[in-house]
């Protein structure tokens, strides 16, 4: 029995059409599903200035977390009484940092990252300094501005 070359070519064409039709169907189902699962871009609220509390809220050599828009930030009152503010997101793996009144440094409990009072990395794995904000005193209010 000999193979009919015309019939073979026809079979090949049908396989190609069916296969590509099936593939296209799968893609047309997957594409909207993947797009659905990808979270939409939401514009960040463009907060550039917030009130971080009253001067009297913080004693020297202490700190507190405050909201800077939707993100946590750290307001530190140094032992000398000066105010400093930083993004509280550790540049290593995004944990929220804290102030250590003993070492007088900013410290991340997750992987032991350490930063000085300028936000510069002085120990541990963080690759970059903390983002520093500008602090102004308006009467009794501590106002923090993105530099």
């Amino acid at each position: 029995m000999t193979a009919d070359p015309e019939s073979g070519a026809r079979r090949g064409l049908i396989r190609l059409l069916l296969g590509s039709g099936f593939g296209a169907s799968v893609l047309s189902f997957l594409y909207p599903a993947v797009k659905f699962m990808t979270p939409p871009e939401v514009a960040e609220s463009s907060v550039n200035q917030v009130s971080a509390g009253k001067v009297t809220d913080l004693k020297p050599n202490s700190a507190r977390i405050f909201r800077f828009g939707s993100k946590p930030a750290l307001l530190v009152r140094t032992a000398a009484g000066e105010f400093r503010a930083f993004s509280a997101a550790c540049t290593h793996l995004n944990c929220t940092v804290q102030y250590s009144d003993q070492s007088r440094q900013i410290w991340c409990a997750c992987h032991n990252g350490q930063f000085d009072m300028n936000g510069k990395v002085v120990g541990g794995p963080p690759p970059r300094p903390l983002e520093q904000f500008t602090v102004h005193l308006q009467g009794e209010d501590v106002v923090v501005t993105r530099s």
């Binding site: 990808t38 979270p39 977390i65 946590p72 750290l74 793996l93 929220t96 940092v97 409990a109 997750c110």
Partner: protein
């Protein structure tokens, strides 16, 4: 008499005799390492416990940031036996990871992944990955402080992967930060996506185990390995192992109820002493030790890439371990396996205590 009649009635319609006859012919190799075979079954048993207790927890749990913590608190304080069901779910998750790891290392040391069981190894590795994802996604659901920061770190690690990292982090978090969107997403993964994928993969894994039977250890000279019948001998032994696992699980859950901790607050600092679940401790501690910069690269990126490459090499063992495929002994590989276990144990202990 009645039972016999019912059996015959069902048998006539479902062909149970064929299954029974098949089981009686199935054999399991008997040797000094047969004990390790039971851990695959124990993992499966704990998975079933997870499904059952998970369904019970679903009756009360509410996956929103305002209600998640309170609903788990309600379960453990107000619902009768709620503390026990939640404690069993948490302990069983941990024991399941442990049983799966023991199962994986026993397969490794017995070289059971060698031809023709490569696909069984791959499906098992994917199942282990899914088990870890179950742990990671379930950890966030009580919406407590530890879980919140563990999720922040875990998703940020995924984000450190070059090129695709940013997308993966956004995909996992459902946005830029860990928020209620992350909780809803993780809940969906934990109770729908992962169970679905796991069930499919588990069926494939079991079908492959069924097709090729249980692997016999490498033996010089082609000496035949003695066997025992799968049914009832092995099945009864496996059930005793399940009872043992149930006793351990019940004792742990009753004597050491799983703590709930404090409710997550995105606007507090990560507390001192924070650490992930024990099975991520070795990676956690290693990342602590890696310096911020190695040459011009960020240390964390190199660390995460290194772990990724190690996991890929481990998964692809059946392809590059040609000596075991040829039924030759491979002492170097055994040594590497012992080294990996020693590393995991020592670094996990250091991560816990330091």
């Amino acid at each position: 008499m009645m039972i016999r009649r019912v059996w015959n009635w069902v048998d006539d319609r479902a062909g149970l005799s064929a299954i029974h006859a098949f089981l009686q012919h199935k054999a399991v190799p008997v040797h000094s390492s047969t004990l390790w075979y039971y851990f695959g079954g124990i993992t499966l048993f704990l998975f079933v416990i997870q499904v059952l207790t998970g369904v019970l927890l679903l009756l009360y749990y509410r996956p929103t940031p305002n209600e998640a913590f309170e609903s788990v608190q309600f379960i453990v304080t107000r619902v009768e036996f709620g503390w026990l069901v939640r404690s069993i779910h948490s302990w069983s998750a941990n024991l399941m990871v442990l049983a799966a790891l023991i199962h994986m290392f026993s397969v490794f040391f017995l070289r059971s992944y060698r031809q023709p069981r490569e696909l069984t190894w791959f499906s098992g590795m994917f199942l282990l990955f899914l088990t870890l994802m179950f742990g990671f996604s379930g950890y966030l659901l009580p919406w407590n402080t530890l879980a919140y920061f563990a999720t922040k770190v875990g998703t940020d690690m995924a984000g450190a992967v070059p090129v695709i990292g940013g997308f993966v982090r956004r995909f996992l978090r459902g946005g830029e930060e860990v928020t209620g969107a992350t909780l809803t997403r993780f809940f969906g993964f934990h109770v729908a996506v992962l169970p679905g994928l796991t069930t499919i993969l588990l069926l494939i894994h079991l079908a492959l185990v069924q097709k090729w039977g249980m692997s016999s250890p490498q033996r010089g000279g082609g000496k035949p390995v003695p066997t025992m019948p799968f049914f009832p001998n092995f099945v009864l032994r496996e059930m005793m192992a399940w009872y043992g696992a149930l006793a351990v699980l019940g004792s742990l859950a009753a004597l050491f109820p799983w703590e709930l901790g404090a409710k997550a607050d995105p606007f507090i600092s990560a507390p001192a002493g924070i650490r992930p679940e024990w099975y991520f401790l070795a990676v956690f501690y290693t990342l602590k030790l890696i310096p911020s910069k190695i040459a011009i690269f960020d240390g964390e990126v190199l660390g995460i890439l290194f772990f990724g490459l190690c996991a890929a090499a481990w998964m692809l063992i059946p392809f590059w371990d040609r000596r075991s495929a040829e039924e030759e002994r491979h002492r170097l590989l055994t040594g590497a396996g012992v080294f990996i276990i020693a590393y995991l144990v020592v670094f996990s202990a250091l991560g816990y205590w330091r």
